[in-house]
Symmetry: C2
Subunit: 313 residues, 2 copies
């Protein structure tokens, strides 16, 4: 029951139609690890600058997240991202990116981290993802996220990295871009021929889908009547998915399906407030309540049509 | 077990990236009634011109669709629509509309039709929809479809018509436009305060959602690796939904949920070929097979997180 994530730890500044926050904890590894910590023991591989205080990192402590491989470069500055959302909250407009210490990030894994059972390669340069993956040949399950930047500029490296992982977790635009196939179902089948045994496609307000072998599983998003700040929703989903899997003995399709629900549950909380604000004070009771809500909102009785006729006569 | 639909019967000409068809049977009442005929006795109220031959109407005969209220105006021409789809098959580009006999359409209901248990008001001018609805005060369940044209130009009349029906079946853009509310969940709740007890939101390749009182039900679309011609998918969905309900004694939420699946099943077949080509040769075995596939692709075990932990220890 241990999970390792490599990714960014950042300070985000976000404007949405509903509010503005100048500085808050962000980055893929932050959102992922906080979400996963509700289900399993999780460790971060990442880098921060001298401006990252104990107070900034208090949330990791509160959630028992292991930061032994979170390198601190005292004379550098932490990665910063500034973005804006308009009413279409599916699209983030990047206003400014300061890579800072993240520009020269070389992930360093301690011996203990290398023994983690599961590994999540957050959205970083695919060469780095592959380096980390290669240091953990015995990981039972490795998942990867990526983005349009890497698909466009480091495509060959990304394809090699994808070949070596078990699960790819991307959004629908990325699946289409990665394959040059407009039909999502065809695109997904194509990606599965490259090596991974599962592909998860995140569809924002429309939910998510899991493709494995010949099987297909799809769920709606939890219905929210207001989405406040979508930043980190994808990583929070991945954290719930991988965190739940990490708590399970069998990593089979049934476990992955439940993990999809837990991932969606975590993401649905994430978007309700700025940054990590909502997720950091979540309870297991709240998580399970929303898990059960997913069952209620997707359940129907399996009565084929002939039987229905008989029943009504 | 009887269902009445009022709507258009048309000749469609369609171009998609995959092919072209100069003349085929189309119109909301056609797609709806053929789909519904797999589940119930269905009658059409509509109008055709002298150019509509017995051959054109043979599909109605084959499917035992009652056409006693399908008025023929011998010196007029049948409604014609010509449209094009690009690779984004969610958007139909109308190239030409010839209303012809449909311009002066006044629905006339025979006494027998008025006794139908269920009524579907296809996408026509809302004054006409209301006239028909008022002739059937005893219908057990009345559903309505509409479109952006009526929302823009006959809004007040449409709102009055919506007030008098039980179920509204529209797509997500229409729900937003109708309410001026960008968030779909809020928009749906708003529409339910106007009178209808249920709202169905069609989301194309993302599936469909059913809002009733405080409950929410959402399903993905059937995963198709090629969509050939989406014309009529919405009406085919509505036909499956209303046709299935018409076969059921109890019109409760459980029946509506199953009806959503049957609607989605029918729509998924509809888009596989031009016009009504695929649906016209469907079998009940094929319908039930795809219904069962929906169960497989949405099922997950309901094991809250604590129990999962115990199970894995």
């Amino acid at each position: 029951m241990s999970l390792l994530v490599v990714g960014s730890v950042a300070f985000d500044a976000v404007e949405t139609p509903f509010g503005k926050c100048d500085k808050m904890l962000g980055g893929s590894a932050s959102h992922f690890s906080i979400s996963a910590s509700f289900f399993t023991d999780v460790s971060i591989v990442g880098v921060i600058g001298g401006d990252f205080t104990d107070e900034d990192g208090s949330i990791f402590k509160e959630h028992d997240i292991n930061t032994r491989d979170l390198e601190k470069i005292s004379d550098g500055q932490t990665f910063r991202w500034r973005g804006r959302y308009d009413y279409d909250l599916n699209v983030a407009h990047t206003l400014e990116t300061q890579l800072n210490v993240f520009a020269d990030f070389k992930p360093k894994l301690s011996d203990e981290s290398r023994k983690s059972r599961l590994l999540f390669l957050g959205n970083i340069q695919p060469d780095l993802q592959r380096e980390v993956r290669e240091q953990m040949p015995n990981a039972e399950l490795v998942a990867l996220d990526t983005m349009n930047l890497w698909i466009e500029h480091t495509r060959e490296s990304l394809l090699r990295t994808i070949k070596g992982v078990d699960v790819v977790i991307i959004n629908d635009a990325e699946a289409r871009q990665l394959t040059n196939i407009p039909n999502l179902i065809k695109a997904a089948r194509e990606i599965l021929t490259w090596g991974p045994k599962a592909l998860i496609v995140k569809r924002g307000e429309y939910g998510a889908a899991l493709f494995t072998g010949d099987s297909y599983f799809a769920i709606p998003a939890y219905p929210l009547d207001s989405v406040f700040d979508p930043t980190g929703a994808g990583d929070t989903f991945a954290g719930g998915f991988m965190g739940y899997l990490s708590s399970q003995e069998k990593l089979d399709e049934d476990a992955m399906r439940r993990a999809m629900i837990f991932g969606s549950v975590m993401a649905s909380f994430n978007v309700e407030e700025f940054g990590t604000d909502r997720v950091r004070r979540l309870t297991h009771a709240e998580i399970n309540e929303r898990f059960k809500a997913f069952k209620r909102m997707t359940h129907f009785d399996e009565i084929p049509f002939e039987r229905a006729i008989q029943a009504s006569n």
